[in-house]
């Protein structure tokens, strides 16, 4: 089965939701196809969780329409529940119950047949690397294991749509890899996945990404096209003292933005060919040693930062 088809699974139009004086979501529209892994990327408070909750039918929008798996979520929030699985940032597990008992509980809530449960439990536990811990109490699992158990519980009823709110925050790299392996598998079987993340490397793994800021989508496309669309070009400056380099290049002509990254600085400029020698000269002038300037492909993070800068948005 091919992953992406042209069947629209999640469709939201003109979503608005405010909490008191805070406009958490303002005018969001999304269309997600079957088999996509769609990423929501944004800073804390950008509205990621609110969007998830709106789509899951646990929160009512102030305005706008939502259809998930053919169900009008605003009109019939309960009917969508057997079609989707929503995993909040912290999945609610019963800490006094074992891994197997938690899975059993959630499978019964979704009326999974015993045969299907046995088959899926084994398969999912294996994929999550939790098979040896079935009899351990959920409260005694590590953070990453808890998160994977949450995913297993969320997937026990074969949802058509999976909503994951920052599923890998605080999860160790090995568990994250397991996690993504499971997600890719699900996509193969036609499950549509919407996830929010603060990790840029995860955003790159998505089929499409929406960059959120202050409750609005600033940009939405495939990771590669997002990067191409970034205004300007990116220069990678390696320096002994990246802080000093950052300082020195801040107000150089043609510099649109800077991003300090470990031992280097990503400098976004209007024209790489013209600015590269200029910047080199500027650094030499200020006696900042061992500098090496190369033109590089931007990552999602660069795009994201570029979008958030006022001049970059133009």
């Amino acid at each position: 089965m091919t992953a992406t088809t042209h069947e629209i699974v999640i469709e939201a139009q003109g979503l608005k939701r405010r909490f008191g004086a805070v406009e958490a979501v303002r005018d969001i529209s999304l269309t997600i196809m079957r088999g996509e892994i769609f990423g929501l990327v944004g800073a804390d408070g950008a509205g990621k969780t609110t969007i998830m909750r709106l789509l899951a039918g646990v929160l009512r929008p102030d305005a706008g329409a939502i259809r998930v798996a053919g169900v009008d979520v605003v009109a019939e929030p309960k009917r969508v529940r057997s079609e989707l699985s929503y995993m909040p940032q912290r999945f609610g597990l019963y800490e006094d119950l074992t891994v197997a008992e938690n899975i059993f509980f959630y499978s019964e809530l979704f009326s999974v047949s015993p045969r299907e449960r046995r088959a899926r439990t084994g398969q999912l536990l294996e994929a999550a690397g939790l098979a040896p811990f079935q009899r351990r109490l959920a409260g005694q699992l590590s953070g990453g294991m808890k998160q994977k158990l949450g995913l297993v519980c969320a997937l026990i009823h074969t949802p058509r749509v999976l909503l994951l709110d920052e599923p890998t925050t605080g999860v160790d790299p090995v568990s994250r890899r397991d996690f993504w392996a499971i997600l890719y598998n699900l996509r193969e079987s036609g499950v549509t996945i919407l996830l929010s993340t603060a990790y840029m490397d995860e955003a790159e793994r998505c089929s499409r990404v929406a960059l959120l800021q202050a409750g609005q989508i600033r940009s939405c496309d495939t990771p590669s096209r997002l990067k191409q669309a970034m205004p300007g070009a990116l220069l990678d400056v390696v320096a002994d003292d990246p802080g000093a380099a950052n300082q020195a290049l801040k107000d150089a002509p043609g510099v649109l933005g800077l991003l300090l990254m470990g031992d280097r600085v990503h400098v976004r400029v209007d024209d790489a060919g013209r600015r590269s020698p200029e910047l080199r000269a500027r650094l030499a002038e200020r006696a900042i040693a061992h500098t090496e300037i190369t033109t590089i492909e931007p990552g999602i993070e660069d795009v994201f930062v570029a979008l958030l800068e006022p001049d970059g948005a133009a």
């Binding site: 646990v58 809530l109 009326s111």
Partner: protein, 376 residues
């Protein structure tokens, strides 16, 4: 219809079984409290520390003092010879009560004149003081009657013999006026209410805190199934509480149980309905277990005081009397005391039973509505 209720219940009991201290927490405090109430909660006043100042030193005055001591209600701690000593005894708390017999007491009696007797009492504890004074007038009355009968007819002969009305006291339902009989049924009701309201509110708030509530609510489960799953176990625990404390009261403290056990069963069910409703209602007002704890703490005392457990409702200001109308404990106390001691039937007890039903259904409805809203 309720296919998901079964798994909710299974989960609840599994969690309860995993909690190694659950049985301890549920049973031991209950037993300890009923035993403390059974032995310590009494209005009876005994061994009142008493000081005596006998300025008459006659046979009559000594006879009066021995009347006091003989009852066992009063314990002689000081025989004073000056008024200051008496004042000192009361001030320091050495004596609660002081009897002052003035010089000429016997002479007045013999001459058929009224012989004044002074009694000083420490009124700090108004209840004890009042009861002790009651005993004093009883004893003095008795003393007077005996003295009168000993007085030669000749002296009283001048006037017609005094006609006295004699009071025959016969308390119904509790002939010995045993405080314990009154307290133990009340304790059953009070402890059960506190236990069930606590357990229910905490259990629901805990699911909210753990994030499992939101998780359950995005599943196809109905709010009714969730609420039933959360409350049925506590309904059973409440019944076990009532049975346990009743057993201790009847078997250990020998409180009679003369009524119909079926009415007790019905009353307990309706009371538990109201208790569960109250617990759920509290849980809808609490986001964390601390908040639930604070609410419980805040409510326990008013519920207790405004129930008629120890303080008569009729003596309360009107506004507080109205408040007692929404207190399920008030109604169950009427029912449980009636069933234990009076043995009356539904023809008498239907109003409190109906009131508990109304309260229970009302609070459960409000909680379910609030519950639905909080999930929107």
């Amino acid at each position: 219809m309720f296919e998901r209720l079964q798994v909710m219940l299974m989960k609840e009991f599994l969690e309860l079984r995993r909690d190694r201290w659950a049985m301890f927490r549920l049973i031991v405090p209950l037993i300890i409290q009923v035993i403390i109430y059974g032995y310590a909660a009494t209005f009876t006043v005994n061994h009142v520390a008493t000081a005596v100042l006998d300025l008459d030193q006659s046979q009559a005055s000594r006879s009066l003092i021995s009347h006091f001591v003989a009852t066992g209600r009063f314990h002689l701690v000081d025989v004073a010879d000056r008024q200051e000593q008496i004042t000192h005894d009361i001030n320091t708390g050495r004596a609660t009560l002081a009897i002052v017999i003035h010089a000429g007491f016997a002479q007045d009696l013999n001459n058929g004149r009224s012989a004044p007797l002074q009694v000083l009492v420490d009124g700090t504890n108004s209840n004890t003081a009042l009861i002790a004074l009651g005993y004093v007038s009883q004893i003095v009355g008795q003393f007077q009657a005996e003295e009168m009968s000993g007085v030669p007819q000749a002296r009283a002969g001048a006037t017609a013999p005094a006609v006295t009305a004699s009071l025959q006291e016969r308390p119904w339902f509790n002939p010995g006026l045993t405080d314990r009989w009154f307290f133990i049924p009340g304790v059953i009701a009070t402890l059960t209410l506190v236990q069930v309201v606590n357990l229910t509110s905490f259990a629901v708030v805990r699911e909210r805190e753990m994030g499992t509530l939101e998780q359950i609510m995005v599943s196809p489960i109905k709010p009714v199934e969730f609420i039933l799953g959360k409350t049925l176990p506590f309904f059973l625990i409440g019944f076990a509480d009532v049975a346990l404390v009743t057993a201790v009261g009847v078997l250990w403290f020998q409180v009679p149980f003369v009524g119909n056990p079926l009415i007790m069963l019905l009353g307990t069910s309706l009371f538990l309905l109201a208790a569960l409703g109250l617990g759920l209602l509290l849980s809808t007002f609490s986001r964390t277990q601390q908040q639930a704890f604070a609410l419980n703490f805040f409510l326990v005392n008013p519920l207790f005081i405004l129930s008629g457990f120890a303080f008569p409702i009729a003596a309360m200001p009107r506004v507080l009397q109205w408040l007692t109308l929404v207190n399920p404990l008030r109604y169950f106390l009427v029912v449980i005391r009636a069933v234990f001691l009076k043995g009356v039937g539904l023809d008498v007890l239907w109003p409190p039973l109906a009131a508990m039903t109304l309260l229970g259904v009302g609070m459960l409805t409000i909680s379910v509505l609030r519950f639905r809203k909080s999930l929107d």
